[in-house]
Amino acid sequence: MAEEMADMPEPERALAGIAAGVASVALIENGPAAARIVLRCRPDVASLLGAASGLDLGGRINTARLAPGCAVLKLGPDEWLLIAEPEADPWLGARLGAAAGAGAVSIVDVSHARGSLVVAGPSVEAVLAAGIALPLTIDRFPVDRATRTLLGKSEVVLWRRAPDRFHVEVGRSFLPYVAEFLSLAIAHEAAIAALPR
C-alpha cells in the first residue's frame, strides 16, 4: 500500500522541477489545502438541503458562491462542488448528512482525488487560453464564474477568483501535466512579449 501511494503525485509537489512562471506574465502556485465534497441531488431537494445545512445552493449554473469557510461551485443543474478549509471536512459532511433526510442525495468526499493550482498575473487570460477553448475575457468569464472544462487534454474546474487570478481544480494524477502545460504556456507568452516590435 505504501509503495502504491508513493507513486501518486502529491498535490503539494505538482510544481516540483518546473518553472513556476514569469512575474510579468503569470505565476503558478499550489492551491491551498482543502476539503472537497461533490454533492448531487435534484433541485427541489437542494433547496431543502440548502436551508437545513446553511449552504447557499441556489444561484445560476456555472457560478461560485462564498460562504464562511466554504465555497459552493454549481457545476451542473444537479451538481455542486464544495471547497472548504481542511478542518471543515467533518462538520461539513455532518451538516450535509444531517440534512440529507430531505430526499435522495449523493455526498462524496473527493478531497484526496483532486489538487489545485492558482494562476495569477497580468497575462493570465492568454496563458489559460493556450489550453482552454472558452472565452476568458472579464466580460464573458467574470469573477466567481466557475465551470468544468478542458485544459489541454485534462478535465479541470476553472474558477475566476479575481480579474487576474484563476483557481484550477485538477484530478490529482493530472496535476503534473497541467502544471507543466501552464509553465510552458507562460514561457511562450514571455517569449512573445520579449520579441522586438
Binding site: 449554473i61 456555472n62 457545476l75 451542473g76 443543474p77 451538481e79 477553448a133 472558452l134 465551470t147 468544468r148 472544462t149 478542458l150 478535465e155
Partner: protein
C-alpha cells in the same frame, strides 16, 4: 471548432467539451421480451441516417455533465437548435437551412 449551445448551461460551449451519443428519440420498449425480433432488431441496429436535418443526442461530458438533444444538418454540420431530453423534437423549416 463548433460552438454548441448547451440548454442546461444556457450558453455556447466549445465542441471538445461534448461527446456524440447517437440518434435522439429512439425509444426503448418497456418490455423488450414482448417485442418481436424484427422490432427489437430495429431498436438495436436501425437508424434513420438522413442526408439533412438529424435529431441526435450529445453529452456535455466536460461541462455540466448532462445530455442534450440537437438538430444538426449532416451535410453542413450546422446545428439549428438544441433542447433538453424529454422535450418534443422541434420542426425545422428547411427554408432556413444552409445550402450545402
Amino acid at each position: 471548432m463548433l460552438q454548441i449551445r448547451c440548454p442546461w448551461c444556457g450558453e455556447d460551449r466549445p465542441e471538445i467539451e461534448f461527446r456524440y451519443a447517437g440518434e435522439a428519440h429512439v425509444v426503448r420498449a418497456r418490455l423488450p421480451a414482448d417485442e418481436s425480433d424484427a422490432a427489437w432488431a430495429e431498436y438495436l441496429y436501425l437508424r434513420t441516417n438522413p442526408k439533412g436535418w438529424h435529431a441526435e443526442r450529445w453529452h456535455h461530458v466536460h461541462g455540466c455533465g448532462r445530455f442534450l438533444n440537437a438538430i444538426r444538418h449532416t451535410v453542413t454540420d450546422r446545428i439549428a437548435v438544441t433542447y433538453k431530453p424529454g422535450e418534443p423534437r422541434p420542426t425545422i423549416d428547411d427554408q432556413q437551412g444552409p445550402t450545402p
